[in-house]
């Protein structure tokens, strides 16, 4: 049998461990498998410009940009990048050759206010298609 004090210590340590692990759980999009992406027959730079415009049209503030990845948060009225309860999307770009680009998208939902959130992947891909010439 485990004594009462040992039980308390054990519980405290377990709680500490759980808290530490939970603290590591971040709100980030996860890169999907390459076979779930969309290929656009346009060079990388053109697809990135279209993606930037698509995100803005859909109400996303772009918070991270690099040659291979964009990250953006959907802002509702009154929200800011620093304070919001909205979806975060990641867009990965891979140039397949000089004239075609693979685009992967992922939406990370927040557990709070989940009813007002949605998966944006399809809407983003459709909008990128519209933005391209």
């Amino acid at each position: 049998m485990i004594g009462p004090w040992k039980k308390k210590i054990l519980s405290a340590l377990l709680l500490f461990g759980l808290l530490s692990l939970v603290g590591c759980a971040d709100h980030v999009p996860v890169q999907p498998a390459p076979n779930t992406g969309s290929v656009f027959q346009f060079p990388l730079s053109e697809v990135q410009t279209a993606a930037r415009n698509a995100l803005t049209h859909l109400g996303f503030a772009i918070t991270k940009e690099s040659p291979e990845y964009f990250e953006a948060v959907h802002l509702k009225p009154g929200e800011t990048v620093e304070k919001n309860e909205s979806e975060l999307v990641g867009i990965w770009f891979q140039a397949r050759d000089k004239y075609s680009t693979l685009v992967l998208t992922s939406t990370a939902l927040r557990p709070t206010g989940i009813a007002k959130q949605k998966e944006w992947d399809q809407a983003i891909i459709s909008r990128i298609r519209q933005e391209l010439p």
Binding site: L21, V22, G23, C24, A61, R110, T112
Partner: protein, 249 residues
């Protein structure tokens, strides 16, 4: 055997008597495994929090003389101050804020003025509702003649139909391309556009993207990356504690 309230249990030990008299049982397998499990759990917790967040880290650029906190969103009708700070302001000859609405091709610019030591500021004109986005970038010319510009930043313009329009008045801006005079009509105040005699934009070297962490497949935040955030609250003896692991930015 026992007297008063001290009743012996089946093993012959006192239930509420002095503990020093309780015979200790020999440690069993569970007693040996429990501390090991605990230590493993703590080790994993610490390891998970220490793992790098990103799968790819960009290289540090050679030139990092300018510090700028990007602005991500603004409400229509509001002017936005844009700041840039230099470590060695004495080396800066000129700094400009280039901007355009996302629908246009040509940039307008405003000179940035030094406000406090090493910090330069200019105000983006307020945008109209439905402008959607403004692109801006910072261009600086050093005393040695080197001209560098940042990557363009995209500013999300959020509609606001409740606030009154900004007070009337013109804002004087410049451009390097006469075609820009016909563009950029989506600002909430009229712009008086003049063509500069000192174009710098075309000859500027563009800075690389600042390094960021790129999430990889299966998440990137330690062992539990990709959960999408967790929150819970507990209440112990009237004291409540709420925890939420949501990172906006």
């Amino acid at each position: 055997m026992g007297s008063g309230n001290h009743q012996p249990d089946q093993a012959g030990t006192a239930i509420d008597g002095p503990t020093s008299n309780i015979p200790r049982r020999p440690p069993n397998r569970r007693d040996k495994i429990t501390p090991l499990l605990l230590w493993w759990f703590i080790f994993v917790s610490v390891l998970a929090s220490a793992l790098p967040a990103g799968a790819t880290e960009g290289e540090q650029p050679e030139h990092t003389p300018i510090e700028h906190t990007p602005i991500y969103s603004v409400t229509a009708g509001k002017s936005v101050p844009v700041n840039a700070t230099f470590e060695n302001p004495g080396e800066v000859a000129e700094i400009r804020l280039y901007f355009k609405t996302m629908a246009e091709d040509y940039y307008l610019f405003l000179p940035m003025a030094e406000t406090v030591g090493g910090t330069y500021t200019a105000h983006l004109p307020p945008a109209r509702n439905w402008t959607k986005g403004i692109d801006y970038l910072l261009l600086r010319k050093s005393l040695t003649g080197e001209i560098r510009k940042s990557k363009p930043f995209r500013l999300l313009v959020m509609n606001d139909f409740a606030s009154p329009p900004p007070s009337a008045g013109e804002i004087q801006v410049q451009t390097e391309d006469p075609s820009a005079e016909a563009q950029n009509q989506d600002f909430a105040v009229p712009l008086r556009i003049s063509v500069t005699v000192d174009p710098l934009f075309a000859g500027a070297t563009e800075d690389p993207y600042p390094p960021i962490s790129v999430p990889g497949p299966g998440g990137s935040s330690g062992l539990f990356g990709g959960l999408g955030g967790v929150s819970f609250s507990i209440k112990v003896r009237g004291v409540s504690f709420r925890y939420g692991s949501f990172s906006g930015r």
